[in-house]
Symmetry: C2
């Protein structure tokens, strides 16, 4: 039996009123996607791990069960299958593969689906440095994503600044804010509730999707800081004298807008 | 007599080894510049307030003395005069006036001078929104500044994310990190020591000047967050599981590189 210590472990008792969401994570076998899978499954959400390779997805499901227990609410499938019928789809893929991945899943996204794009347009996508940033024609990778999905799909940009290492340390709180932007307030708030279900994490409503032009670049800034200070898991908190000293005290939005 | 409460007030007893730096603040009568003047003077540095209008600078000197006491180490002058012979010059002006201001001070900057540019290229400079960002041809306002000063002047980008309201509340700690970038490590570290002399503040070494392309944009992000949550003073802290839980624990650089 694994020791249950810290708030992360305690949180596996669901609060009254908790609503489990069916989440698909495209690129869920990657470092960031796997970390999010662990955290959302640990919070009680049902997570479908998507991969270009169904066998890889299955291997990641086994790994999640090894870590969280055999009853962990997780399954796996090829990306196009993994997203079908899921109200929330989180896309965690490198920028170099982003457009191609959207090409394979777009037709399977129902109107109303909340697509959370976590892509950072790092220079490494074209062989340049990971701490340099590319500027997509649409303004941001999130807006590029929005141009690739059917009308009615609600794209949200989030999780760019969250370290995979912090997500994977499931017995520790994640001491980071998640900057959430998107043109649909209900979609932002829904993503916000998923964020707030991860112990220690707090979502910050950053308004319209175009704000991703700024938030996506923060990945490159954190890579710079991690390299310079020999860290792995640097992230951000929004602070300030009239801001929220207590991470729990943020006036976020209310959840809502789940497609029927 | 003003009440001396909090660390901000306590810090006016200088620690052993404290070295006072002569700092000029171009745009020191503005909100951000005046806040920095207050904090640096309270820390014991000598601050010369620069303004396009010498009379305005003098009025701000009087205001500093009213707040900090008649012995506050501060004087004022027209910008071109204010920067002469000062090892550190902080430029806090709106983007719309940046190039013109550098045009008036450039010839008065001696080689070795550390110029701290705090300009954020906000859309408001051209009548667009303040939460939109312009992209200077050079990549950032800090790099634009670097193109406008003589060879040997060391440009550092810093203070973009620091709320003027937090700086002006001199009896409170400033619960914010300052993201510092520049091509000269000694110049970054020197600015870092000035930051660390402000109670509660911590500097984060963000490497080369081109990183300002990211850090400058954070002003627009904070404006978005301030509007959305009805705040005035939102800022950033770098956090993370292997980062520095204790703001005092950051492994910053050592001071050095003061021009002789």
């Amino acid at each position: 039996m694994r020791p249950a210590h810290g708030r992360a472990a305690q949180r596996r008792l669901r609060p009254i009123g908790f609503v489990s969401v069916d989440v698909s994570i495209v690129g869920g076998t990657g470092n960031e996607g796997f970390g999010l899978t662990l955290r959302l499954a640990a919070a009680g959400h049902h997570v479908t791990i998507g991969s270009r390779d169904a066998a890889k997805a299955t291997a990641s499901v086994d790994e999640v069960r090894r870590i969280l227990g055999s009853d962990a609410p997780v399954d796996g499938a090829e990306n196009a299958v993994a997203v079908q019928g899921r109200p929330v789809v989180i896309v965690t893929v490198p920028f170099a593969g982003q457009a191609a991945i959207y090409g394979t899943i777009a037709e399977h996204l129902a109107p109303g689906t909340v697509v959370v794009d976590a892509t950072s347009p790092l220079g490494s996508a074209v062989g340049d440095k990971a701490w340099h940033v590319l500027r997509p024609w649409q303004g941001s990778a999130a807006e590029l994503a929005a141009s690739l999905v059917p009308d009615g799909v609600r794209v949200v940009g989030a999780f760019h600044t969250v370290a995979a290492s912090a997500l994977r340390a499931v017995n520790e709180d994640v001491d980071e804010d998640v900057l959430v932007c998107g043109d649909d307030p209900d979609a932002r708030a829904l993503v916000g509730t998923l964020v707030d279900d991860i112990p220690g994490m707090r979502w910050v409503d950053c308004g319209p999707l175009e704000t991703a032009r700024i938030t996506e670049q923060l990945t490159a800034l954190l890579i710079t800081i991690n390299r310079r200070y020999k860290l792995k898991g640097a992230g951000f908190r929004i602070v300030g004298r009239d801001a929220w000293g207590d991470p729990g005290g943020l006036p976020g939005g209310l959840p809502g807008g789940l497609p029927g």
